[in-house]
């Protein structure tokens, strides 16, 4: 197989792929570079000196809006959404392995939640709170609106996981006298743990970046994407790029952390049962 020569189409498609990757990363790398503009630099190349001037400007609240506050809100909201998405999706994933009445209704509801344009959810949740005369906040209406976006993803991932799940592990546990709770706690949960990290990652980043569903649902105190959106109209300096660099770096940090966590879980497991079959 290895000695086989690559066909010409390989090189054509390979080139296309490289161009696609450049298309994805090119613009992003440009703003990372430009965020280190000197104090006199503008929004485009050339670079006029190098500095961290624009990063400092970011943390002075008056100049570029409430970056720190909105970041903290988005971070906290992301963590709450992450935790709830993992727990609720896992539970629902377990439910869908058995037959129950209304299963396909709930499934289609979850799919509908992905298909309904985000602005509708935002508008609906905003209206609901307005008519009930409850103040919209990021941790109530905002949280709910975000969950309508993250839970369907979590559920679909759990479907994919449980479709490939080998039931004989559970049967073995049951034969050895484990209660249903023990089976879940000591057999199912450890096996699906890496996927749950993935669900959590989805939950966090989808919430952290969510714009449309936040718009009318988070109330007067902006989350980060709303704040960034506001800044795009107000700021015409490289501080905007600095903001992009910081949030992007943070996203990558989260993704990297999750990937590392999954790898560690899998390694530890491989060490624990060196000769055993992989679940």
């Amino acid at each position: 197989m290895r000695e086989e020569r690559r066909p010409a189409s390989f090189y054509a498609l390979g080139t296309f792929f490289v161009l696609f990757v450049l298309f994805l990363y090119g613009p992003l790398s440009a703003i990372v570079l430009l965020s280190f503009q000197g104090p006199d630099g503008g929004l485009t190349f050339p670079m006029i000196g190098w500095s961290t001037h624009w990063f400092q400007a970011l943390f002075e609240q008056q100049r570029v809006g409430d970056f720190k506050g909105s970041f903290l809100r988005s971070f906290k909201l992301g963590l709450i959404v992450m935790a709830l998405t993992v727990v609720i999706s896992f539970a629902a994933g377990l439910a869908f392995r058995k037959r129950f009445r209304g299963a396909s209704f709930i499934f289609y509801l979850a799919v509908a939640s992905l298909i309904v344009p985000s602005i509708l959810v935002s508008l609906g949740v905003g209206l609901l709170f307005r008519i009930l005369d409850i103040e919209t906040t990021w941790w109530s209406s905002g949280l709910g609106a975000h969950l309508t976006w993250t839970l369907p993803f979590g559920l679909l991932i759990m479907f994919a996981v449980f479709n490939r799940f080998n039931k004989s592990y559970e049967e073995a546990a049951r034969d050895l006298g484990a209660t249903p709770w023990q089976t879940i706690r000591h057999v199912v949960l450890p096996i699906v743990a890496p996927s749950l990290v993935g669900v959590g990652l989805f939950g966090f980043t989808l919430s952290y970046d969510e714009f449309a569903r936040s718009l009318l649902a988070v109330g007067t105190r902006n989350t980060l994407p709303l704040e960034i959106y506001g800044m795009t109209t107000n700021i015409t300096s490289p501080a905007l790029y600095a903001l992009g660099t910081v949030t992007t770096a943070f996203s990558f940090l989260v993704v990297g952390g999750c990937l590392a966590a999954t790898t560690i879980i899998q390694r530890r497991r491989a060490r624990r049962m060196p000769a055993g079959p992989k679940p």
């Binding site: 690559r6 066909p7 189409s9 390989f10 498609l13 390979g14 296309f16 696609f20 990757v21 990363y25 613009p27 992003l28 440009a30 703003i31 929004l43 485009t44 609720i88 539970a91 629902a92 377990l94 439910a95 869908f96 037959r99 129950f100 299963a103 709930i106 509801l109 979850a110 799919v111 992905l114 298909i115 344009p117 602005i119 509708l120 959810v121 508008l123 609906g124 209206l127 609901l128 307005r130 008519i131 709910g144 609106a145 969950l147 309508t148 839970l151 479907f159 479709n163 249903p180 952290y208 970046d209 009318l216 994407p225 960034i228 795009t232 790029y241 992009g244 949030t247 992007t248 996203s251």
Partner: protein, 312 residues
Amino acid sequence: MQPDLAAERNPGWPHGRLGLHLLSMRVGRSRVAAAAPYLQVAPLAAVLGVFLVFPIALIAVVSFWDYTEYALIPDFTFRNYWELFSSVVTYKTYLSTLRFAAITWAVTLVVGFTVAYFLAFHVRTLKWQMTLFLVCTIPFWTSNIIRMISWIPFLGRNGILNSTLIAMGVIREPLEFLLFSEFSTVLAYVHLYALFMVVPIFNSMMRIDRSLIEAAVDCGASGWRVVREVVLPLSKPGIAIGSIFVVTLVMGDFVTVRLMSGGQSTSVGLMMANQLAYLQYPAAAANAIVLLAVVLLIVAAMMRIVDIRKEL
């Protein structure tokens, strides 16, 4: 626990206290087992009920309400729908949105299919497939708005592309249509949503039985015919799922159009956002219901091709 003497005397038959205990536990357990899926799915159902079904039902209700500059007036009037359907702007806006969706769909389909095909059939080891796949997905973990503004230094009047083209002598004046135009809007859409095509198509392709391809080649099919007659039909589910994602995302979008078109284009979402800015909630609600109907029609058409539940 005390050893059960009855059981010891008569092995094989669950006598005495332990036996009864086991028996009652089993009955109790089966009742719990029957209730378990309902309890497990309850939180999901509750969230979707309160934050999806109820709000959308409310939008439907409010779309029949009346309003003034200051207040919403509960009513049953067709005013909002009447105003919506009697305005030429509405049709233009819907057409423009559909056009964006169609163009973005076509481009992301070609790009997504090609990239997925390369990854699934030309990259030979699983390790490299996954690495390259990850390389494609990483940019999608960052903020959409940041990814949109990242085109500014590239496409702007004094941007990288214009300066390069001028330096190369291809053009004299900077190209104006690059940024804040329909072109940049579509470009941003493709940039933002291409992954939603790549992932499901790649997933479908990875499940194609390789022996089918070998069989086609053995029967003398050219590379192109294999793609057209084996790979393409078997990737249909992935294509359908990706298409549903891309089309619904573009149909409901308003940020991209607002940021990237420079006010030259419009979309249904943007129209709604403007109505909301003037607190015309019932008008926006009517618009939302029509948009939802259009999106659901498109999705229903696509769902005829694929059973999503089978594909996971």
